[in-house]
């Protein structure tokens, strides 16, 4: 195994491939950092460039883009409170407040280092436990997926501190919005109003960009003319090293290990990616924290949880991709296409027939992670300078980039109108005090829940008890009930207390 890994490093560290990867990571970071541009777009746009390259160079470039873009989202999540990618949603919860407190540099440093550690942890998981873990995931059917989706949806209640009814409503509305388009199983067109552009439903990118980026622009517009703080951007603290102490680093190790395990575990399951794992890791970190009241106010624990988990999803998502040929999310689906273009057929036989190439992929992941750390550390000072740009100049330019990102999905002006629509909805959420994060979770998990429910019922010939009698699905459904009951009990206790503890404000909630 180590011989093969050394061979892989030798291939990746050749001058040509190393330079390609450096450019790939840098471009990926930019795509991740700009709201509206994602890892999917970075890989899709660069895929044709790999045609002329050999398999090792082509795949290494794609992996570099993947790693860079997944991590790059933390930059805008912290500096602008706008997640550059779905995988950085939870980073905004504490990264944004840290920036407002003048700790932007520290938040970026923490995010960069723990993104790196998350990536490395997931590569270790990929290399050592891939085959056995993938077998477990392979045994999951619609019953299990439905139960996992329901359990994950019940976490919405945890995200709904404040008004539980509003939070759950946001999740249900997100689920409802995901039902637009062709229905699963029977292909009935739903809620399209005869508009063919709605047949495929709304893209997650347009929903995310609208709800976060466009809503943020509108929100800034509200106070732009009469800024409360006189319009002065908060000054970042002077940065030394990565901006945090060794004691702070060591204190976050348990949080990072837990978040990495969540990221890897969720990354392995097809259909749920880093977009979900960062939020679940954030919730877990808050639950386990000694100071949960600090979450949402700017604590490094929140940034560590989100950034470790989302980058740990990289290796996690590669496990079913390489061992079974099953892409876990849109990024790995494009990666699968990229592998096949170069004559590589992922599956159990890949490890036997093309073992050197598999280890080249592992080496490319490790080198990309190191390049990401170096480039982001080097770029940290440049990113901080972004703070000096007044918001009334920066945000309109970002809106234009969001419009370009939406247009780039399918070259349709319709998608740009969609981001405006979701932007207005996001702003309405802010004004109504409805959290945005449950809406996104509902939108992401809704289709999986509905499709699995209908397929599961088909398999069990309409018998609903199949979901309870299946051991894995029954366990998850029981956990879902416990999760709701626990949250309701917490809510009841909070309302009986003198002041309802309510530290978590999400998605720009007022």
């Amino acid at each position: 195994m180590f011989d093969l890994l050394i061979q892989g490093f030798a291939a990746v560290l050749s001058l040509k491939i190393f330079l390609l990867m450096t450019v790939g990571v840098a471009v990926g970071i930019v795509f991740g950092a700009v709201p509206g541009l994602t890892a999917v777009m970075a890989i899709a746009l660069c895929l044709p460039m790999t045609y002329g390259l050999g398999p090792a160079a082509g795949i290494s470039l794609l992996i570099a883009l993947f790693v860079g873009a997944t991590s790059g989202g933390l930059i805008s999540a912290i500096l602008l409170k706008i997640p550059g990618t779905p995988s950085s949603i939870a980073t905004t919860f504490d990264g944004g407040p840290m920036m407002e407190k003048g700790e932007g540099a520290k938040a970026l440093g923490v995010g960069i280092v723990f993104s790196f550690l998350g990536t490395i942890a997931s590569i270790a998981a990929l290399a050592f436990i891939a085959p056995s873990l993938a077998k477990v995931a392979l045994s999951f059917g619609p019953h299990e997926y439905f139960a996992i989706a329901v359990f994950s949806l019940t976490l919405i209640a945890t995200l709904s501190s404040g008004s539980m009814a509003k939070g759950i409503f946001a999740g249900v509305l997100g689920f409802a919005v995901s039902t637009v388009g062709i229905a699963p199983v029977d292909a009935t067109a739903r809620f399209t109003f005869g508009n063919v552009e709605l047949n495929a439903g709304f893209s997650i990118l347009t929903v995310l960009v609208g709800m976060f980026a466009v809503a943020e622009v509108i929100k800034v517009a509200e106070s732009a003319r009469h800024p409360i703080d006189g319009g002065a951007a908060p000054l970042p603290v002077k940065i030394k090293g990565f901006g945090f102490s060794m004691a702070e680093f060591l204190g976050q190790i348990p949080n990072a290990i837990r978040s990495a395990l969540i990221g890897i575990g969720i990354g392995i399951l097809p259909g749920i990616g880093a977009g979900t794992s960062n939020i679940i890791a954030y919730i877990a970190a808050k639950k386990r924290s000694k100071t949960p009241e600090e979450f949402g106010k700017g604590t490094i624990e929140g940034v560590v949880a989100s950034e470790t988990a989302n980058n740990a999803g990289i290796g996690g998502a590669m496990i079913p991709l390489l061992t079974l040929g099953i892409p876990g999310d849109a990024v790995t689906a494009i990666m699968l296409g990229g592998l096949m273009i170069h004559g590589i057929q992922p599956g159990p036989m890949l490890f036997i027939t093309q073992a050197p190439l598999v280890y080249t992929i592992f080496a490319a992941l490790i080198v990309s992670a190191v390049l990401m750390l170096v480039l982001e550390f080097w770029g940290l000072r440049i990113f901080i300078k972004l703070l000096a740009i007044p918001k009334h100049i920066l945000l309109p330019v970002i809106l234009v980039l969001c419009a370009v990102g939406a247009f780039g999905l399918a070259s349709r002006i319709f998608d740009i109108w969609t981001i405006l629509g979701f932007g207005v909805l996001g702003y309405a959420f802010v004004k109504a005090g409805i959290p945005t994060a449950p809406f996104i979770i509902g939108f992401i998990l809704g289709p999986m829940a509905e499709t699995s429910l209908r397929r599961g019922l088909q398999l069990s010939r309409g018998d609903w008890t199949g979901f309870l009698t299946n051991p894995i699905s029954g366990t998850f459904l029981a956990l879902a009930v416990v999760s709701i009951a626990w949250q309701m009990w917490g809510e009841y206790r909070a309302t009986r207390g003198p002041v309802a503890a309510n530290p978590l404000k999400l998605g720009g909630e007022e």
Binding site: A165, D186, H226, K391, H392, P396, V404, G433
Partner: protein, 156 residues
């Protein structure tokens, strides 16, 4: 009673009723069909809206200051939404470089704080430079065919 929360609760329940009506119009089949899950979601939305409404009716009044803060800045918000809508509508006829330059210039002016000075030449320069840079990057580096409008003969 808090008027804002009453309105929010009513809108939540209203959205559920609207969604339920649309779900009911879907073609029916035996067992679980395309309308089943939307129907369940709609009833949940109605129930949650009613819960919020009842809670709002029990809560104390909002202070006048809170009400005033909630309505300030709405003119700028309205102007921003109009500008974004105008920008999107103008993308095809005017093309990306021209529509973006105009949008950015006007949006810079609208969002500039009253206390800050407005430099029209600087804003115009920034608007044109940003739109040209974005267009060139995506058009020529990433082969994204952004609408060029009347400039199509020169830019493609």
């Amino acid at each position: 009673m808090r008027l804002k929360d009453v309105i929010v609760g009513t809108v939540m329940a209203g959205a559920g009723i609207f969604y339920l009506r649309m779900a009911a119009a879907l073609p029916e089949r035996d067992g679980v069909d395309a309308g089943t899950v939307p129907g369940i979601l709609a009833w949940m939305m109605i129930a949650l809206g009613l819960i919020e409404l009842v809670g709002a009716l029990r809560r104390p009044h909002a202070s006048e200051a809170e009400t005033r803060a909630a309505t300030s800045g709405l003119v700028t918000v309205g102007l921003t939404l109009l500008l974004i809508a105008g920008f999107i509508a103008a993308l095809r006829p005017l093309g990306f470089p021209i529509a973006t330059s105009i949008y950015l210039f006007l949006q810079f002016l609208v969002l500039t704080p009253k206390s800050a000075s407005r430099s029209v030449p600087l804003y115009a320069g920034l608007a044109v430079a940003s739109s040209v840079l974005i267009f060139a990057t995506f058009r020529y580096a990433f082969d994204l065919l952004l609408p060029a409008g009347p400039l199509v003969a020169w830019l493609n």
